[in-house]
């Protein structure tokens, strides 16, 4: 290992791997530090049977999303690495401790943020605007999507931008439940359109097209479902410029006498040894929570507010996606003809937000938008999927066959507006196994999110009614129906970007206002949390930031 690098990058997920890819391609030497172990999706159990897994693969406290989920050494709880929540708050924090981070198991839903999403304050006076517009980011979405591979199409829908011609892969055909919901949506003016997901439907570079089997959350050894461990990281390695250290917890950014970041301090988890890594630029992409934690724990010259926090915004503006769901049963679909409905193992169709006109006119109780995901059909039977039956014997088997494929679910994924109740800070007492002070989360929804749940529930009721179905889940009050903070695993915003140093932590390139060579390229820099899933926006912004870093390295500015 050389003593110093052009760039030290903390994290190997969507942001860190994109930064490493762009920088090494530009000729920079990069050290990537990852808290988890090395991982390669060759160990993904793609077609393994639930029957062969302990408890039929059912989730347990060891593997919360199921035995075969790709997540290694992570989950809602990690032994030795606790976090706390403030009294009266609930917050769930999903972490992966593995090369590639959470990109190894994400749903691959890849919706671009639109023009409205970058200027929310201008539209309704809530939250803040981003320091960039959609037009600024559009070319980066194109470049990123071309590299990553995203299926979908271009329908020119309001606030749901088209990709440039030739960028997208052909989306898979709709399946029966999706065609059925579309017929109801068409009658109600609710769009049911092809989804966008980071899944190849044609071979590309070293990766294969989707073969229409195996849950994407297990990891994709053929490379069809995007994850950094089959793409950005191996590609960066081929430059010969990338050094990866796994099993190391970064806890502090070091600041030189010149006010610039000189590198990071970390703990080798196996030996417990403290070490330093130095570079011309430091890039934190450790995840929204961990990036905030590292900066808050970095106290140069004894400054208690942490590093890059002259605005006081560090740790604040914590947001997650609004989630709720309803399931419904459709008697007309009982006993429908069987066929292989696995497809891309996720959304072929979805419902983008459609009610902008009413929102703008003040005729909707919904302040910000959401999208609906549709799930269910002839899926693989799961051990936990057989509650709610009655009786026994031949009649029971008949009921099972009758109901199979006639039930599906609607899921809300909505925008949260930042609020003063939701933030993270350093717990004054608790430390993890390595002696690093842990995060304490505070979280609360506001009436905006609760009203959005009502809007969703009403829309599902109308759709299900139109289709002659019955809602089978309890329609709970929004305050009970809404997800817990963090539960949707879209947490963003703890070091938001902005137009000035007073109200934000970074500029539009993720460069911290306070430290010229310290960059953030994960979800922490989001200024708002649009209903669109954050991963591709993290990658587009990371690509843009890293391109800027590469230029500054080349010109000697850094």
């Amino acid at each position: 290992m050389p003593d110093t690098y052009d760039a030290v990058i903390v994290g190997s997920g969507a942001g860190g791997a994109m930064s490493a890819y762009v920088l090494t391609k530009a000729g920079a030497s990069v050290l990537m530090l990852e808290a988890g172990r090395d991982y390669n999706p060759d160990e993904a159990p793609m077609l393994n049977l639930a029957k062969d897994a302990p408890l039929r693969g059912q989730g347990t406290p060891d593997k919360e999303f199921g035995y075969y989920d790709a997540t290694v050494d992570g989950g809602w709880e990690i032994p030795d690495e606790p976090y706390t929540t403030a009294e009266g708050s609930e917050f769930m924090w999903w972490r992966s401790r593995m090369l590639g981070g959470r990109t190894n198991h994400w749903a691959r839903n890849s919706f671009r943020m639109g023009p409205y999403d970058f200027k929310p304050f201008t539209r309704d006076g809530l939250g803040v605007d981003w320091p960039v517009s959609y037009e600024d980011i559009a070319p980066w979405y194109d470049r990123m999507e071309k590299l990553v591979g995203v299926y979908g199409n271009n329908l020119g829908l309001e606030n749901h931008p088209n990709a440039s011609p030739g960028v997208l892969h052909t989306p898979p055909k709709f399946r029966v439940p999706e065609l059925f919901v579309k017929s109801g949506g068409d009658a109600l003016g609710i769009p049911v359109v092809p989804a966008r997901r980071a899944i190849l439907t044609r071979d590309m570079d070293n990766r294969k097209a989707c073969y229409w089997a195996s849950p994407c959350g297990r990891g994709c050894a053929i490379g069809a479902a995007f994850q950094t461990t089959t793409s950005l990281i191996p590609w960066a390695k081929t430059t010969g410029k990338l050094t990866i250290q796994t099993g190391v917890m970064v806890y502090e950014v070091m600041l030189g006498a010149d006010g610039k970041a000189s590198g990071v301090r970390y703990i080798d988890k196996a030996s417990g040894e403290h070490r330093e890594a130095t570079g011309r630029v430091v890039v934190l992409a450790a995840s929204t929570g961990e990036t905030a934690r590292i900066l808050l724990n970095s106290k140069p010259n004894g400054r208690s507010e942490g590093l890059a926090n002259s605005s006081g915004q560090l740790g604040r503006n914590l947001m997650d996606t609004v989630g709720s769901s309803l399931s419904a049963y459709f008697p007309d679909l009982e006993g429908r003809p069987k066929y292989n409905e696995d497809g891309a193992m996720g959304l072929h169709a979805y419902i983008p937000f459609w009610d902008y006109k009413n929102v703008a006119a003040g005729k909707s109780n919904c302040t910000r938008g959401y999208h609906m995901e549709i799930g269910g059909g002839f899926g693989e039977p799961g051990v936990g999927g057989f509650g709610g039956y009655d009786g026994y014997g031949p009649n029971l088997r008949g009921q099972v066959k009758q109901r199979y494929g006639a039930r599906f679910g609607f899921t809300q994924r909505g925008e949260m507006i930042p609020n003063a109740k939701s933030f993270c800070e350093i717990d004054p007492e608790k430390k993890d196994k390595y002696g690093i002070p842990v995060l304490r989360f505070s979280f609360g929804w506001s009436e905006h999110e609760h009203n959005q749940v009502t809007h969703f529930q009403n829309a599902v009721k109308a759709l299900v009614d139109k289709l002659g179905g019955t809602i089978t889940s309890e329609i709970r009050a929004p305050v009970d129906a809404i997800s817990k903070g963090g539960e949707i695993i879209h947490e963003v915003g703890t070091a938001r970007m902005g137009a000035d140093a007073k109200s934000s932590v970074t500029n539009s390139f993720g460069k911290t206002w306070d430290v010229d060579n310290l960059y953030l390229t994960d979800g922490s820099i989001f200024a708002s949390k649009a209903h669109k899933n954050p991963t591709i926006t993290i990658m587009a912004l990371a690509m843009r930031a890293s391109d800027s870093i590469a230029t500054r390295l080349r010109t000697g500015e850094l």
């Binding site: 032994p79 055909k173 399946r175 579309k182 693989e380 057989f386």
Partner: protein, 236 residues
């Protein structure tokens, strides 16, 4: 051999019966319960202390690291109950033929909270089944006639017809039903029975619904006065 087993059975039964009488007397409900001793004597089985598989198990070659704990008698009752819940048919084997009892053993022996909760319901539930069978047919549940098993099940299997004081056995039955079904329909035989044709890699584009499936959904949609339409292709 059968005699030896039976005497062993009776000994256990007498012991559990004594425990049950003690519990019922203590709760003052013995007289009121008459012959139906459902909710009492639901004695918690010993806790599992084994370790789980941890946060980083080998995914490609899964192993169940915890010891199995069910007795031969509990496994026999599980098998008999499972086969009553989902009896075999011409094209479908019985749950006991595809390893469902062993799976339920794996389940109740697992060291995780959900499974431990089920264990506290299932192990005493299996003992209850045997006691009921003893009372009605002088044999354990696995040995009594189908008529006796059916008579027992009929009092606890239908949510609107649960016998008085049998709420706990009914809860036990419902859990065994969902576990048995879940275990059965996750086997290749179960996939075939329910008609799940997936987990099959293919090359080329996803073929989508068959013509038969398309015709069917078109009929359903148009039958509701709605319009059947394939999605707009848009531009790539």
């Amino acid at each position: 051999m059968a005699d030896v087993r039976n005497s062993h059975l009776i000994a256990i039964d007498r012991r559990t019966t004594l425990r049950w009488i003690a519990a019922a007397v203590a709760s003052g409900q013995l007289a009121a319960c008459g012959e139906k001793f459902g909710n009492e004597d639901w004695l918690a089985p010993p806790q599992i202390t084994a370790k789980g598989y941890g946060k980083d198990p080998t995914l490609l070659e899964p192993v169940v690291p915890w010891p199995l704990t069910m007795t031969k008698e509990e496994l026999a009752a599980t098998a008999a109950l499972g086969d009553l819940i989902l009896p075999g048919e011409a094209d479908a084997p019985m749950p006991s033929q595809v390893g469902v009892p062993a799976f339920i053993d794996e389940w109740v022996s697992a060291p995780y909270p959900d499974q431990q909760k089920d264990r506290a319901l299932i192990i005493p539930g299996l003992a209850w089944l045997d006691r009921e069978a003893m009372k009605r047919g002088r044999e354990r549940f696995s040995h009594v006639t189908l008529e006796v098993r059916t008579a027992i099940a009929d009092e606890i299997a239908f949510k609107d017809k649960v016998g008085p004081g049998l709420e706990k056995p009914a809860e036990f039955f419902a859990r065994m039903r969902s576990l048995t079904m879940g275990a059965f329909f996750t086997t290749p035989e179960g996939w075939k029975d329910i008609g799940y044709p997936g987990n099959t890699p293919m090359t080329g584009p996803y073929p989508g619904p068959t013509q038969e499936a398309l015709d069917h959904i078109k009929g359903v949609i148009e039958g509701k006065g709605l319009k059947f339409a394939l999605p707009e292709t848009g531009r790539l």
